[in-house]
Subunit: 174 residues, 2 copies
């Protein structure tokens, strides 16, 4: 069994966490050792010294890549969900982890749809000026140039997205 | 099976890496998922931004604790070997990882013995003034106040040390 690092990148509210969780369940059902890595996990300890400025978000992602590599080296398949808005930062993760075991999934969804969902109320807070550097509103999201997989959560169901991702990654893992 | 974090702390040349490697082999033979974490692994990517000043060494250990927690959460038993000279930093790792799954092993060995071994030539370089803040020479090593295990590599053989450590950790893991 090969361990890979799956990066789910997309806007806040695009459905990354939902897909990550479902993916985790599917992988475990196939006895794949998998670990969900996200901003909440990192900011609890490892990145507790970082804020949300562009420079600190870049550092946060750099550390995410480093930890993903360590986890993959230890035999875990890593399901990493991060907004990861900058192409260069994503390319850096690919380089750190190793291109042969890195899978970039663009969880695509129009900004209007994400903002209408606004599950965490962050878009509203951003529009009210309460959040600085909020991706999609006051900070750009650079569309992935060459993702391994694209799913569109405004057009495809969770099951369809999951099937597309699993169809790609399972042959790489098993 | 429970995953624990084993911290091997001691002077440079005390035998931490040798014990870590042997421990790794013993655990794998018992089908325990184990991962060796050390300064080399961390400084390759995660801590490549840090130098060897006291403040950066403290930050290096803080990140080591955070990564050890993530690895343990993912199901790995972590064999962490770090000089980790400061009691407070070790206590911080214990708190991050969780006291119930943290095992502190003091790999004790008199400075004269470590310096006579000088496997990496670092003591000589430190005595020549080529290395700043070298533990034991120009920077203190605070003896662990309350380690779970003490082994003394100048008086006990590798096999004896290993037996002591395994005798303590295996009932915790299996």
């Amino acid at each position: 069994m090969n361990s890979v690092v799956i990066l789910l990148t997309g806007l806040s509210g695009s459905g990354k966490s939902t897909l990550a969780k479902a993916l985790h369940t599917e992988l475990r059902e196939r006895s794949v050792s998998a670990y969900q890595l996200d901003g909440d996990v990192l900011r609890e300890h490892l990145c507790s010294d970082l804020n949300f400025s562009e420079i600190d978000r870049t550092e946060n992602l750099r550390r995410a890549g480093a930890v993903a590599k360590i986890l993959a080296d230890s035999g875990q398949t890593v399901i990493a969900s991060f907004i990861a808005p900058f192409e260069q930062a994503r390319q850096n993760i690919r380089a750190t982890v190793g291109a042969d075991r890195f899978i970039e999934v663009h969880v695509d969804c129009p900004l209007e749809v994400c903002e209408a969902r606004d599950i965490k109320g962050l878009y509203k807070r951003s529009r009210n000026g309460e959040i600085e550097n909020f991706t999609g509103i006051t900070s750009p999201y650079e569309k992935p140039q060459n993702p391994d997989i694209i799913v569109n959560t405004s057009e495809q169901s969770e099951e369809e997205c999951l099937e597309i991702i699993l169809g790609y990654i399972l042959p790489r893992i098993l």
